[in-house]
Symmetry: C2
Subunit: 227 residues, 2 copies
């Protein structure tokens, strides 16, 4: 998380005054939100944290709500950008899926922000941005399953299952972390999960005519993306 940034380069080497931007406030808001939830996004504490006062805040923002919205927008954008950039160079869809899950679960274990946002889903602003990000993610995962040879609706089903599993995993990693495998075991667990998720549909399924047109290859060999 971006913390108190450097003081603006003053006239010389002297300690000039600290000038803040909208982004600085938004980042601080996200950091606070990660720690204490939406209710921790409070103007005065943030100001203290940034080494300034409310006077600064109410220059940049109309009110607390404006700050929250700015922070959420920033989060959504950073998230979609990151998701796009991080997987662009991997051709094999199975490997992409594996990398995606490894990164996502690891990041979720470290960064409390996502869980904190889910926690505040009662707020309409939060739920709006969550809806956007969620749709994009599920769609993306479903696309991977399509690439892996599953038909459209089956791919969406599995994508949804995969995403709910990810969400639950994230949730657990913050509420009851010891219930999850750690370190190497985590990676093995994840591979086993992928194995299950990538298994072809059974012949006695609820939709008997649904079957991958192409036997899906298993999640790429565990080569790169270790840890």
């Amino acid at each position: 998380m971006v913390m108190v940034r450097e003081r603006t380069k003053g006239t010389g080497g002297g300690a000039a005054r600290q000038r803040l931007t909208v982004q600085d406030w938004a980042d601080a808001a996200l950091a606070a939100m990660g720690e204490g939830g939406l209710s921790a996004v409070a103007v005065e504490p943030l100001a203290a944290r940034l080494g300034t006062t409310k006077g600064s805040f109410y220059w940049h923002f109309a009110n607390r709500d404006a700050l929250i919205e700015a922070a959420l927008d920033r989060w959504a954008q950073a998230r979609t950008e990151a998701a796009i950039a991080e997987l662009a160079d991997e051709p094999d869809p199975g490997a992409r899926l594996r990398r995606l899950f490894l990164r996502a679960t690891r990041r979720a274990a470290e960064d409390p922000l996502e869980v904190s946002l889910l926690a505040s889903a009662g707020d309409p602003r939060v739920s709006a941005v969550l809806a956007r990000v969620t749709d994009r993610r599920i769609g993306h995962i479903a696309d991977l399953f399509v690439e892996l040879g599953f038909p459209e609706d089956e791919a969406h089903r599995r994508g949804l299952l995969a995403y709910t599993a990810y969400l639950g995993h994230t949730q657990l990693s913050h509420s009851v972390p010891r219930s999850l495998p750690d370190g190497l075991a985590r990676e093995r667990h994840l591979d086993a999960v992928l194995e299950t998720l990538l298994h072809p549909a059974g012949t006695s399924g609820a939709d008997p005519d649904v079957r991958p047109s192409d036997p899906p290859h298993r999640a790429a060999d565990a080569t790169a993306e270790r840890g």
Copy 2:
């Protein structure tokens, strides 16, 4: 959720005064928590809601924290009791699993309390009770997988996957409900998910020697427990 209870039967048919108990306060706290999270468990609003005042509250409880703990205990107990009672009469483990999932996901869609608790997992009291309930649930699901013929560790893995999927599903049903199938489609989706979860481990798995000793039967035919 239990609301304002009846006034205590007075001397005659007259409107006697309302006398509250610790349980009344705890239930009200849970209701408030379901709606507005942990921070909505506030003494004065609750008093207003119960048609009384703080004077009553501070007779029954030392402080707000005591109320929160009482409410959480009550929740945990109700949850474990319910989990035990609701499945006692079903012999087939596959059917139990299906019933369990149907009930759990339906209840989760209606009752915001669970998601609200997950949201407040930052609080140590909440995370403590969550840990208890979580362990019990995962253990229970894992037992079902054992009954279904999976070896111990594989059963635990799948139980964990099933539970994380449930958690994520719950989360989504409150933050982005439209991303989930509804009505009949929900039931079909769930059956497909169970199908995937119950599939025997592949021969090329991360643990190649892991395989159900007994071909797991698929989730019991969709007979009872509809809707």
